[in-house]
């Protein structure tokens, strides 16, 4: 089976997309490197304050016309975008593999989930309807109209470069707002392609803008008086201490989806083969670089035979994972995004060893399928005897590392889950409905899985999160996103 053809040949010079024009940046240029091959595939600008200001100005000027475009007409732009995304599905997916490293199945899954958000946004004529009460007093009626707010900033992370901005963009646009997207400068190519398709779909100039860069662009968004709200996905320190704080100071709406340390609780009555298959995706899918990845495997009960058999099977399947370039269809796990991230993960592995956890599968020197530099590759790693107080047991590693812990019973397991400051996506594997309900009722986590390893909500549900994993009130996706991107205008009327 051949390696799939790369859609990007040579190095793509990336431009900003402002007011319907592709504009060169005056900022410094950074290289975008394919983490599997080590080849430079793009040059991304770190845009200036003037450039983010120009994008916000264009978005502001486009607002009145876009608001007057009817919801039905706005949804038709999204329908056209959806058609184009289906047409270029494979190209967009392969770009993600090239810029990020994930496998082609994972990239296609990301593309599909992005499209699903566009599809939900297409339903805006219904989703955006208000409501009406006749005769709240004699001859007086009251009603509510959801109205757009203005310009929104969307700040994307590196781990799902294509999909995550689409948790916000379709809803912001469909409700009549305009947007400025700042993709991660590490992975700007799929967002550039998305903007090209948005242009082809015919969005009017200024409605959809993309400004590449780093802190200057983020700060420019946070400080800009004409940006009314921000959606952000990234680390907890940035989300909590920078984005959420600054939005509070400047009176902006905010959704800050942050870090995670997810627990996967294994009950002794689980369906073992199905559970183990699910754990592979949970812990090692996307090379562990997702906020819904399993991080701690918490095995419940004092049955040592079950524990040993279960862990042996986990290690057996884990050790067979094929690591390599994601465009090779046989590959099950790609590299991590860059060498600094790899070094950080290795530091965590070393800290686990130092703190006394037992390393039972070491991924530091992986066997790579194909002839690729090992710069960004890691194999799956499994630790046993991890305690919740160890660094590898409590902090987000964001890599393919499984930390195995034990709990005497379900109550203790829930206590351990809840003691962790994060609350993004915990799951239980069991055949007992009683235990499953008890778990979901008591666990402090925004997304909860019952026999599901990756608790990724569909586009028509909010992508939830609690505690240190989320700062804000409403979430991205679905009806909550529609609420976030609209103000409730309430009218009370009487006619004399």
């Amino acid at each position: 089976m051949a390696i799939l053809e790369e859609p990007i040949k040579g190095t793509k010079a990336i431009k900003n997309y402002i007011n319907g024009e592709w504009v060169d940046s005056k900022g410094q240029i950074v290289e975008v490197v394919n983490p599997a091959t080590g080849k430079v595939i793009g040059e991304c600008p770190i845009s200036t304050k003037e450039e983010i200001n120009a994008a916000v100005q264009a978005a502001k000027e486009a607002c009145p016309d876009w608001r007057r475009t009817t919801p039905v007409a706005r949804s038709r732009y999204l329908f056209r975008l959806k058609d184009l995304l289906e047409e270029y599905f494979e190209e967009v997916s392969r770009i993600q593999t090239m810029e990020h490293g994930k496998t082609i199945d994972e990239s296609r899954g990301e593309t599909r989930r992005g499209i699903e958000n566009v599809e939900v946004g297409c339903g805006i004529p219904t989703l955006m309807q208000g409501y009406y009460s006749e005769d709240i007093a004699t001859g007086i009626d009251e009603y509510l109209i959801p109205t757009p707010l203005g310009v929104f900033g969307i700040i994307g992370p590196f781990n799902f470069p294509f999909m995550i901005p689409l948790w916000s963009a379709p809803y912001a646009l469909a409700t009549g707002n305009t947007i400025v997207i700042k993709p991660s400068s590490e992975v700007p190519l799929s967002q550039t392609r998305l903007a090209e398709l948005a242009e082809e779909a015919g969005f009017p100039p200024g409605v959809w803008n993309v400004v590449h860069g780093g802190r200057t662009v983020v700060n420019g968004m946070l400080e800009h008086k004409d940006i009314v709200g921000i959606t952000f996905v990234g680390s907890t320190p940035t989300g909590r201490d920078v984005i959420y704080k600054k939005c509070g100071e400047t009176g902006k709406r905010v959704i800050a989806q942050c870090g995670a340390k997810n627990f996967i609780v294994i009950m002794p009555d689980c369906n073992v083969p199905a559970t183990i298959a699910s754990l592979m995706t949970s812990f090692f899918g996307n090379a562990g670089q997702r906020c819904l990845s399993g991080a701690n495997l918490l095995i419940v009960g004092d049955d040592n035979t079950f524990y040993k058999n279960f862990l042996d099977q986990v290690c057996d399947m884990t050790s067979k994972i094929k690591v390599g370039y994601g465009l090779d269809e046989m590959i099950q796990m790609g590299p991590v995004r860059d060498k600094d991230k790899k070094a950080n993960i290795i530091r965590y592995i070393e800290s686990g060893i130092q703190e006394g956890a037992k390393l039972i599968l070491d991924g530091r020197k992986p066997k790579i399928v194909g002839d690729y530099p090992d710069t960004c590759f890691l194999g799956p790693t499994v630790f046993e005897n991890v305690s919740p107080s160890m660094k590898i047991g409590k902090e987000e590693i964001f890599g393919p590392v499984m930390s195995v812990m034990r709990a005497k019973n379900l109550d203790e397991a829930i206590e351990i889950c809840n003691a962790n400051p994060f609350g993004n996506g915990d799951a239980i594997f069991t055949r007992s409905g009683r235990d499953a309900r008890y778990f979901l009722y008591n666990v402090e986590s925004g997304n909860v899985g019952i026999n599901i390893g990756i608790v990724a909500p569909m586009a028509f549900f909010p992508f939830s999160g609690m505690k240190d994993s989320f700062y804000g009130v409403l979430h991205t996706q679905g009806k909550e996103a529609v609420r976030f991107f609209t103000e409730s205008k309430v009218i009370i009327q009487r006619w004399f």
């Binding site: 496998t103 199945d105 989930r113 199905a274 592979m280 995706t281 819904l292």
Partner: protein
Amino acid sequence: MGISTCSGAISLSRELENESAKFYEELSKRFEKDKDLFLTFAKENGKYITQIERAYYGVITDAIEGCFAFDLNPEDYQFKAVPSKDANYSDVLKDALMIEERILNFYKVAAEQSKHLMADIPRSFTLVAKKRNERIPTLKALLDQAK
């Protein structure tokens, strides 16, 4: 190397359909008598590819076990797509039956292994398996006549 990924399994199904279509196209050139039937088979193969890819692209998501869904050995399903030059009609019909049985077996195994994925993928494998199964009595009848 064995196939574990969805992408790999879909590519294998595409390869099997394309190769067997080539085989039937060759038969249609060499055996005029049943030309229409062989060309119909070749055309159907193209539809099966579309059907399976549509199911896959429609439901693929990063949240299911896409990279850990299968345990397939491609060698179990390989066949020679070009009938030998001196093969008579009986020989090529036997080859056709062998090909159909191998591909049928692939779809059955793939459907079984992917049954925990979203329903559309195993369903499309099962539907294609059912369609392919219908070819076997037709080919057997032709073989009986040719003997």
